[in-house]
Symmetry: C2
DNA sequence: GACCCCGATGTCAGGAACTGTCATCAGTAC
DNA sequence: GTACTGATGACAGTTCCTGACATCGGGGTC
């Protein structure tokens, strides 16, 4: 006989996404989410630092994929290193998660507070990537620029992946966006 | 005979920055700020949408400088357009504001909530720039990439400007960072 | 000059997000 | 069997933020 059902955290996440989708982020109280998961408000805040964070768990692993790509890339060309990192990160979003990612993104795009949190996560990712690049010998400015550019490519590519039908996998889109960045920056058009 | 002292908004901003610097963002209540400005908490929220916003007023003009640069640039090379926009934006931060900017940045860097807000503002800037670039004929992806890259250059350059002594003006730093981005992306290093 | 509206502020009540603290009690270790 | 642990509940309290209504100097209208 268990005293509590296991998986409280997962239940909270599922209940939160469902409610946010139905009534919006602002229209949902933490107490409602907790009740839907059979828990109390206080317990929600033991699992998530604040109301927004319930949508952003598991970002650590995502960061690790980027860093692993940077560390294992067998080249010293920054663009090539970023390409490997993006390839690794794309593995985090297989095609069968596209629909789920879309739902989540709709919720985020509807609320400035959630957008702020997403941006903070991506900024943290850029900082982590900067550190990894510096360990590979880049100076501070170059590392920061490469990291920020990589994140920018990911942002643009991810938005495209979300918006598209079922055409291309994320990895292919990211490669195309990175190529477009290169041609944009390097091929002057008069 | 005036019923209230004028400049309520400015008094609130000054009081807020002073208190945030002294006791931190979290350690300062809105009621304290308002009292220091001779006003009530309710009036604070009539001037600023939330507690953080008091540090981020006047961003509209900043955005306008970027957009004006994009619109008036007499070239179709995206990097050159971004360069003009960055030149315009640098005018917003003359050297005698460096010390003030530094104080403000210390406060922001000490609080994740304020960092979120700053990132949201920069993201809005990127969106605005993307629109201006699209009006100049770039397709959606190219415009977004150029805008994001421009903002990334600004971020890196601004941080350098804040961190440096009194060496170079912001405009010079931004030009150097943009050049470094170009060489980073375009000059493959084996 | 009497009248009236406007706009910035004050006052008050209240909801929702968080936090600190202590109690509860199944499972586990010994 | 006793003590400890760890997830949860209960509850009070602070702060952020909002809605509703009152106040009253200034400026316009007649």
């Amino acid at each position: 006989m268990v005293r509590w059902e296991p998986g409280a955290r997962e239940r909270l996440q599922a209940a939160a996404l469902e409610r946010f989708g139905a009534r919006g982020f602002d229209g949902t109280t933490v107490a409602e989410i907790a009740a839907a998961a059979g828990l109390t408000e206080r317990t929600f805040f033991r699992h998530f630092a604040d109301k927004r964070e319930v949508l952003f768990a598991g970002q650590d692993e995502f960061e690790r994929l980027f860093v692993a790509g940077i560390e294992e890339a067998e080249t010293t060309d920054p663009v090539a290193i970023i390409a490997v990192a993006l390839d690794g990160a794309a593995a985090f979003f297989p095609d069968d998660r596209r629909s789920w990612s879309r739902m989540r993104q709709v919720v985020i795009d509807a609320d400035p507070g959630l957008q702020e949190r997403e941006l903070l996560k991506l900024s943290g990712l850029a900082t982590t990537m900067t550190g990894a690049l510096r360990r590979r010998g880049f100076d501070a400015t170059a590392a920061a620029l490469a990291a920020e550019s990589g994140v920018a490519v990911f942002r643009v590519g991810f938005a495209t992946w979300i918006a598209e039908g079922e055409d291309r996998p994320l990895a292919a889109i990211l490669r195309a966006v990175l190529a477009e960045l290169r041609s944009l920056v390097c091929a002057p058009r008069t």
